[in-house]
Each structure stands twice: as C-alpha cells, then as structure tokens.
Point group: C2
Chain length 231, copies 2
DNA sequence: GCCATATTGTGTCAATATTACGCAATATAC
DNA sequence: GTATATTGCGTAATATTGACACAATATGGC
C-alpha cells in the first residue's frame, strides 16, 4: 500500500472533430488562466470527486465550449510528460468525439476565454501534449471510419450520397470510387434510400439517404466486421 | 479550476496472458489485505508520485508476481464503479500484456499472498470489476491477433509452424486451415524458415520458423495492414 | 526390421470479392 | 434550348479467399 499520500491529479481532455464542406475541423479553446494563458488547447479539465470520467468530459465540454457531442469514446490515457500544474503529476484521460459544428452554438465560459472550430490542416500549435493527442485522435478517426459507422455522426440525418462520399475522401485523404463506395454501402445495408430528393445548383437532383441503424446493429450482432477499405 | 481538493486515486491493473500447450492462461494474484482479502484479482496497485503509468504496471507486476512481460500496452481506463478504497474514488488504468509462462518464475510478495496462472476457461470469480476487464482484454487479444504480430510473444523465438497454428486456433476459438494459414504467413513474409528441425514423438520432423521482425516493420511502414482473418 | 501411425509439407481449382471503368438520366445556369 | 454539372447505375478484368487431398518423413510397437 502507498505510504506517501498520492499527489496525482486526474484530468480529462476531448478531441472533438467536426465536418463541413469537405473540411475537417477540431474544436479548441483559448486558455484564460495559467502559465499557458492565451494558448490554444483541447477542452478539458480536472475531474470532480464522485464524477465519472465521461461525465467529466461532457461537463467540461459544455462549460468551456457549449458543445455536447453526438459521439464520444475514450481515446488514451497519458500519464507521463503532462505537467499542467507544476506541483503535481497529472494523469489525463483523453476522449475522442464527433459533432456537426452547425448544430452547436459555441459559448466559451469558465476556463475558456474563447472557443473555436479550426480546420485540422490549419490548427495552431497547442499547449501541453495536445498536438500529439490530436494526431492520435485523427488516426483513430481514420481507422475507425473503415469498420464503424461513425461518419454518420458528422452528417445530418438524411444526406445525398455525395456528402457521404466527400466525408470519407476528406477524412481519409484520398479519392474513393463513387460507384464502388455506393455499392458497398447499399449492399451492406447500412445506408438506405429515403423518398426525398434535393436539388442543389446544377446537376441531376440527388436522392436523400439515411443511416440504417437497426440493420447495422443486426450486422454487428451477427459478428460481421465491416470492411470499408476502398481504393 | 477545482475548488474542492481532488480525492481521486490513480491505480493500474494488468491483464497478462500466457499460452502453453493449447491453453490460454491469465496471471492472477490473491489479495493479502483489504476487505477483499483472499479473493483473486488482477495484479496492480496505486501509482506512485512521479511515476509513469507504464512503469507503475511493471513495478506492480514485478512486486506482486515476479513477472516482467514481453509485451505490454494500455487497454482502457475505468473511472466509474471501481471502489477499491471506500473513502475515495479510484480511476484505474488497465494494461494488457503477454509473456511465456515458462519463461518466468512466479514470486508473490507484498500485497499478493499468492500468484498463479489460471486457465482462462477456469479462472475464479475476481474482485472489483476485474472479470469485466479480463473479458475486454481477451477481446482485444483476439482482435489484435488478426492484424498485429503479437502472437509471437507467446512462443519461443523459433517454433514449429504447428505451434503457431495451435496458438491462433486456441486463442481465436475456432479451427483454421493449416495450409492457408501457412501460405498467408509465409507470403506476407512475417514468418521465415530457419535451417533447424525438431522431431517430437512420431511424425515427420518439423522445420523451425521464426518471426521476421524487420520484414514486418517494413510492411508496417509501407502502410500495409495485415489481414489474418482465416476461415 | 517392418509396419502402423502420426505429423509435416505442398499445389490446384472454384468461389467470392475487389477494382476499374463509361454512359445515360435529370436537373440548373445562361 | 443548349451547355454544363451532378446523380445513378452495370459489367468485365483481376485479385483474393477458401476448400480440399496426397506424398514425405519420422517414431513406436511388435
């Protein structure tokens, strides 16, 4: 048993991605206090006593940015070089989330002087070890897109197929074959057609599609592993 | 910033798997102290100040069981229902490790009254939320076997091909085609033949093979994702 | 010593999955 | 009404996966 009282503090951080207009965004806050005042960083903070980790993330996100995510999962726990408070060792549990930026109004309060969506490709240099965390989250997002239907969290509930295609090619960073992609999604049955159409500018109007959740759940239960790798 | 001093304690736990003789084992300790005295549990304990998480796991494993793993990665961080110490909220960072049981002598000391390898299929009911953690670790092991060469950590540096086959079919819980499996491993180039042979009991003597690490590293860098799913 | 037995080592073919690719349909912009 | 942009589909070539059987080589038992 520990003889010396433990001085370690537990914090949470969230890497929240948004997507819009063929651009991937990450949600950042500007620090109001501390040595790293005015530096951009991930939303997050210390966990309260008797609070679960996940509710701590949700609370901090709400407080610092006004956002609540539509998807949130644990990413990794960093317990090494984090030195938030010079007097104490900090263990920080990071989370990875998704939300549609346009569905949320940003309201920075508390520790956050500002909150903003940055294009991932143009994000500022971050405080602490947050650059590394963002990078890991980005890799996780890319990997997971291939075998979990998390991309739908970044679109409206119905969408033209081209939106889904663009989301995938933007996040994965390479073109995908439109026809094969559509075939895969429809054959697997995770995307289904609605009877609505939209016409945006020129071109043939697009049918609107939606994520078929019940079908996906069935697949998942049957042990099927999605394979959405496409050339 | 937190007004009330944080009372949360940080612990680590390790799920260490071993393999021998077509059996998968998990390393457990019997608690010496506490309310749950004499219950079997995962090795682990509180993190010391200024200690990294990984070194805390290694230290606890060494102290409680005498084992040092040949593979260790972070698994998941539990921050909810763990109530190790009734006065404090505990966040426990779990790790997942591999080692050959026969390469280690078990030496329980400190918090552990005993340390033992249990067949995973016959493990006792564990203290805390450790049953759940073992289950998650097992799933991770099964999943990761398909796309990372971690199985080799459970075999000697050279081995007959049948050992590798048995390891896979044991851990995955289903038969695999001997010929297709061998073809895949050799074609990918992650396993190579040595010039040694062994003869064990009857039957044609087996060539000894070894993991081709440099080849695997090259594959990994080139972005190739192993696919070892086999019917 | 010889034969029964057990285990290793290898190749082919069919079924399935992936990839590449082009053209017709339908709307808007001018 | 014509040019243009975008959606919606189908097919052939190729690559991968999966099923399957028999020869080779040792030991164990008599």
């Amino acid at each position: 048993m520990a003889q010396v009282p433990q001085q370690i503090k537990v914090a949470v951080d969230a890497v929240v991605f948004g997507y819009e207009n063929q651009q991937l965004f990450v949600l950042l806050i500007k620090q109001r206090y501390g040595q790293l005042k005015d530096r951009w960083a991930l939303p997050g903070g210390f966990v309260l006593n008797k609070e679960t980790l996940k509710s701590a993330v949700n609370r901090e996100l709400k407080e610092e940015t006004g956002v609540s995510t539509s998807y949130l999962e644990q990413l990794y726990t960093f317990g090494d070089d984090v030195e938030r408070d010079p007097r104490a060792h900090v263990v920080s549990v990071s989370y990875f989330g998704l939300v549609r930026p346009s569905s949320m109004r940003l309201r920075p309060t508390g520790d956050a002087k500002d909150a903003k969506w940055f294009k991932l490709s143009h994000k500022p240099d971050l405080a602490f070890d947050h650059n590394k965390i963002v990078q890991i989250a980005h890799q996780r997002l890319q990997a997971k897109l291939h075998y979990r239907p998390i991309g739908f969290q970044l679109l409206k509930s119905t969408f033209p197929f081209s939106d889904l295609e663009n989301l995938y090619s933007t996040i994965l960073g390479h073109d995908i074959d439109r026809r094969n992609f559509r075939k895969r999604m429809l054959t697997l049955g995770i995307v289904e057609e609605t009877d609505k159409k939209v016409s945006i500018g020129r071109g043939r109007p697009a049918n609107l599609f939606k994520f078929n959740k019940s079908n996906y759940t069935r697949l998942e239960k049957s042990g099927t592993i999605l394979n959405l790798y496409l050339a």
